[in-house]
Structures are given as structure tokens and as C-alpha cells.
Point group: C2
DNA sequence: CTTTTTTCTTAATCTACATCAAGTGCCGCC
DNA sequence: GGCGGCACTTGATGTAGATTAAGAAAAAAG
């Protein structure tokens, strides 16, 4: 069944009965996004959380100089949304784009709130999900303040080993906060050193 | 009553009956921390969330060069903890220190989990609290990647107007991610420009 | 397979911010 | 009320990483 991945994802933090699983699945909407197409663009009001089942998305902002800054990647088994916009229902700042042909399951904000009423365990699930994101975000903040680009790259490799082969270098450069040119040089120097 | 501030804080997101309020308050433990003393130090396992009722705390890490990096300030009406350690119950990386004589209400992790069982509305409360922290943390990440030190300082002034007069410059410098020397120079240049 | 587009590399130059150093002012403390 | 440390300033110099530019390699599109 196409929902296995997301049900396994839920089961990491809460236990659902077969009936509850079925209810949950009826609230989901499957969607395919072709490479280079967008799930959300900057200025949109974010109406859904997306759970990736295949492919890969990236969430990024564009600064006034026109430069991208990647806030997050979403490979299979990850959730992604413009949290600011989703929570406030104001126009967001995030662009969410497919790096390759991608499949997601969408859970609308409306359905999410219905779930909270109907199956309160979902409060717990999304609390834990958000807690984990917060810890990761804070760690990345600290890394940005205290580590060199090379050390941040090293951390990235350890934390996202599956993504590395698989992702254009410039996207990784943007995530760790350097230019593609500097990133390229840094990598060749790292090889030389070894 | 000494619990007014925290009950008002809760009421921003959930409604509690008088009875529930009373139960909640019995789970709290008041504590005073003198200026320069610590609520938590790096390597400790974080056992409590702290809600500040008076004074001000700072949460920071120390890098291998011995330099502080402020992750957050907690003036009155704010919550603070080492989220990584609190959630994982592993040794943490955060130091939480009083910038002046400070009073907090502590909610232990154990009591927090009892609350989730006993009054499920607290799942919701802490979910929303965590969501808001996540949005702020992500915004700060993006600011760190896309803005100059001067723009980050400007944002800081807008977001924490009460803290500015009140906080040693070097702490603000650390929060926005520059050295105290550079921060000092930057400020005098900003005055000159105006 | 060919063309077009995107990604990656390499090199020269530039800049925001760090580091080191020395001096000034100030506030808490005996 | 003096003094010892801490916060702030200012200047000289150093550096991680940015910018600009241009060509090579790889991948997507047709």
C-alpha cells in the first residue's frame, strides 16, 4: 500500500489502531511534482504539510541580491512546509522545489486541526516532530556561529550521508552557507590534505 | 499571586479551569538564581524547563576556542531549557546563566509528562510553544545566511527592544555572531551615518 | 547523437569581519 | 573611597570566504 512509509513514520512516536490509520489516510492527498517544479513559492500562504515518499525537495529563500539559501532538504520519509506561513496563515518566504521528480502526501492545515480534535495522539506526534526540528535547527545555528565551513561540511556529511552523492554540490554549498566556488575549492583542498 | 505571569502565559494558547490551574501550579518549583550563577552547565542532563518571572537568563555554548555563542536570552515571560538534553536525557551543550538576579519557575520533565497524561491540553500548549520557537530559530538561520552583521543587529533591535538598553553589548554581539570589537566599531559607524 | 543548459573548476582580486594589542572608563566590592 | 577587574573603544594587521570571470565537464533536452 502507498501509505506504508507514512504510517511507519507515525509509528516512531505514536501507536494508532487500524481504524485510526484508515481515518488518517483519508485526510491525505497524493501529489507528484516534476523536477524543477514548485510545491510552494515565496508569497504563497502555506496550506499543507508535505511528507515525501519519493524523490527530493528543497526549501529555500532568496535574498535581495537574488541568492538562494537552502533551509532544508526533504528526501523520502521527511516532512516539509513553510512553518511560518503554515502557522500564521500569512504569506511565506519559502520556495519549495523538486530537485528531481518527487511524490508527496499532503496533509492540509484544516485536516491537521481536525485530526487534533478527532485523534488527540496527533497533538503528541506533531509536538515531537517539531521538537526534533527545533533541536536540529538550534544545532545548526550554533554550528553556523562556531564552526568553519569545512567543519560544517563535515557535519553535513555525517548527518545526511544518503544525500551527498545524490545532490548537486551547489545545493550543499548553499545549505552550509558558502558560495559554490568556495565550496569547490574547499573540497579539492580537503582531498589534497588527506 | 506569584503564578499570575505563568498562567497568563498559558492562557495565550489554551484555556484551563481553575482546578487545572491549581494542579499545574503544584507541579512548579520556584527558584532564585543570583547574577553570574548557573541554572545549568554544559555536560549536565537537563531535567527542567524554566519559566522566567524576573531578571534575565542567557543560554550559550562555548566553542573549542573558548568563545561564547549565545543561543537565546530569556527575560520575564520566556521559557528556556537545553532542548536537546531535555528531550534526549543525554548530557547537554548549553550553559544557562543569570545575567542579573533572576527568579524562575521550574517544571520538571517528569511532571511535564504527567501533565500530558493528566491534562492533554498541555500537549497542545507545548506543541505551539515549540512551533513558535522553531519559526524563530529558522528565521534566525536564514538571517545568518543572508544578512550582514548590521542588518542582523537591526533585526535584533526590532525584535527585542526591551533587551537592548539592559544588556551588555558583548552579549548582543555574541547573539548576532560577531566579536565585541567589531560590534563596537559597527555601532559607532552606524551613529556616524545617521 | 547533438545541442543546450547547468554544474563544476580554477585563478585573480576584494571585503567583511577576526585577531591582537593597548588604552580608557566604569562599576562592584572590600 | 580606592582599587581591581570587566566592559568598551580604537588602531594595525590578518584571513576566511565573496566576487568576478572564463573555460571545461557533465547532464538534460530534443
Amino acid at each position: 500500500m502507498p501509505f506504508k512509509l507514512i504510517l511507519d513514520n507515525l509509528s516512531k512516536h505514536i501507536h494508532l489502531t487500524a481504524g485510526e490509520q484508515e481515518i488518517f489516510c483519508t485526510y491525505l492527498q497524493a501529489k507528484k511534482i516534476k523536477r524543477k517544479q514548485f510545491l510552494l513559492t515565496d508569497g504563497d500562504i502555506c496550506k499543507h504539510s508535505a511528507f515525501v515518499t519519493a524523490g527530493c525537495l528543497r526549501g529555500y529563500t532568496v535574498d535581495k541580491g537574488g541568492i538562494d539559501h537552502v533551509l532544508s532538504f526533504a528526501p523520502p520519509d521527511w516532512w516539509i512546509a513553510d512553518m511560518y506561513s503554515l502557522l500564521s496563515q500569512k504569506p511565506g518566504i519559502l520556495n519549495i522545489e523538486a530537485l528531481e521528480d518527487t511524490e508527496v502526501l499532503l496533509l492540509s492545515k484544516v485536516n491537521q486541526e481536525i485530526l487534533y480534535q478527532q485523534i488527540p495522539k496527533f497533538e503528541r506526534f506533531f509536538r515531537i516532530l517539531t521538537e526534533n526540528s527545533l533541536v536540529a535547527s538550534q544545532q545548526r545555528l550554533i554550528d553556523g556561529l562556531s564552526l568553519t565551513a569545512e567543519e560544517r561540511y563535515h557535519n553535513f556529511c555525517k548527518r545526511y550521508p544518503t544525500l551527498i552523492d545524490h545532490l548537486p554540490q551547489k545545493q550543499i554549498a548553499s545549505y552550509i552557507g558558502v558560495t559554490p566556488e568556495f565550496f569547490s575549492r574547499m573540497r579539492s583542498e580537503m582531498v589534497r590534505k588527506k
